[in-house]
C-alpha cells in the first residue's frame, strides 16, 4: 500500500534548465508535504514544504506546487545546477505536527554541466 508515489525513478537535465519532479498521493488525510534531498552517505536534508491550505510555496530556486483535487504535487528547480544532483524524496504527513512522515520512493536527478 504505497500512499506516496514518485513515478519517475530518474531525471536527467541540462545545467541551467528546469527540473520538474512529480509526486502523487492517495491518502486524503495528508495535510502537509515536504521535499527532502539526499546525497550518498548522508541523511535526507529538508528542502521545502507546503501546507494543504496553499497551492504554491517558493524558496529561492525551489518551488513546490500542490494540486489537492488531483492529489499531486511537484517540485520545480530553476535554474538547475550540478550540485542539485541527488535523490529527491517527497514526504507527506497527516493531521497533527510531529506525525510520521510517509515517503515516496525517490527520484534520482542528474544535472549535466
Amino acid at each position: 500500500d504505497q500512499q506516496v508515489k514518485q513515478n519517475s525513478p530518474s531525471l536527467s537535465v541540462q545545467e541551467g534548465r528546469i527540473s520538474i519532479l512529480n509526486c502523487d498521493y492517495t491518502n486524503s488525510m495528508f495535510d502537509y508535504f515536504l521535499w527532502y534531498k539526499k546525497y550518498p552517505a548522508e541523511g535526507p536534508t529538508f528542502l521545502i514544504s507546503i501546507s494543504s491550505i496553499k497551492d504554491k510555496n517558493e524558496d529561492g530556486r525551489f518551488t513546490v506546487f500542490l494540486n489537492k483535487s488531483a492529489k499531486h504535487l511537484s517540485l520545480h528547480i530553476v535554474p538547475s545546477q550540478p550540485g542539485d544532483s541527488a535523490v529527491y524524496f517527497c514526504a507527506a504527513s497527516a493531521t497533527a505536527a510531529g506525525n510520521k512522515l510517509t515517503f515516496g520512493g525517490g527520484t534520482r536527478v542528474l544535472v549535466k554541466p
Partner: protein, 114 residues
C-alpha cells in the same frame, strides 16, 4: 549547532543476532523518529519517541523496539535479525512543541545482515 548524530556508521551482523543503534537528536529537539530505508526505496517509519515513551509506531514487528533517554537520545534495538533487515537506519529529530512538521535526519547506520 550539533546536528543529528548516529552510531555506528556501519554494522555487520549474522542472522539471528541482536543489534542496537544509537541516535543523538539535534540540540534543542525533544522527539526522535526512526526510519528504515531499504535499497532503492524511500524511508519507512518505524516508530517515534517523545518524553521517553513510544508515541507512534509504523508497521514493523515487535522485534523492533526502542528507547528514549532523559537527555532525548534514543536507541533502536532489533532482535532475531533477518536477512531482510539489511538496510540504512535513519534517525530524525524534531521539536514537538514547535508544531513544525520538519524532521532533521542523521547520516544513518548501514546494517548488513549475513
Amino acid at each position: 549547532d550539533a546536528g543529528v548524530t548516529q552510531s555506528p556508521t556501519h554494522l555487520i551482523k549474522t542472522r539471528g543476532q541482536q543489534v542496537t543503534l544509537r541516535c543523538s537528536p539535534k540540540s534543542g529537539h525533544d522527539t526522535v523518529s526512526w526510519y528504515q530505508q531499504a535499497l532503492g526505496q524511500g524511508p519507512q517509519f518505524i516508530f517515534q519517541y517523545y518524553e521517553e515513551e513510544e508515541r507512534q509506531r509504523g508497521n514493523f514487528p515487535d522485534r523492533f523496539s526502542g528507547h528514549q533517554f532523559p537527555n532525548y537520545s534514543s536507541e533502536l534495538n532489533v532482535n532475531a535479525l533477518l536477512l531482510g533487515d539489511s538496510a540504512l537506519y535513519l534517525c530524525a529529530s524534531s521539536l514537538l512543541t514547535s508544531h513544525s512538521y520538519e524532521q532533521y535526519f542523521g547520516p544513518g547506520t548501514r546494517l548488513t545482515v549475513t
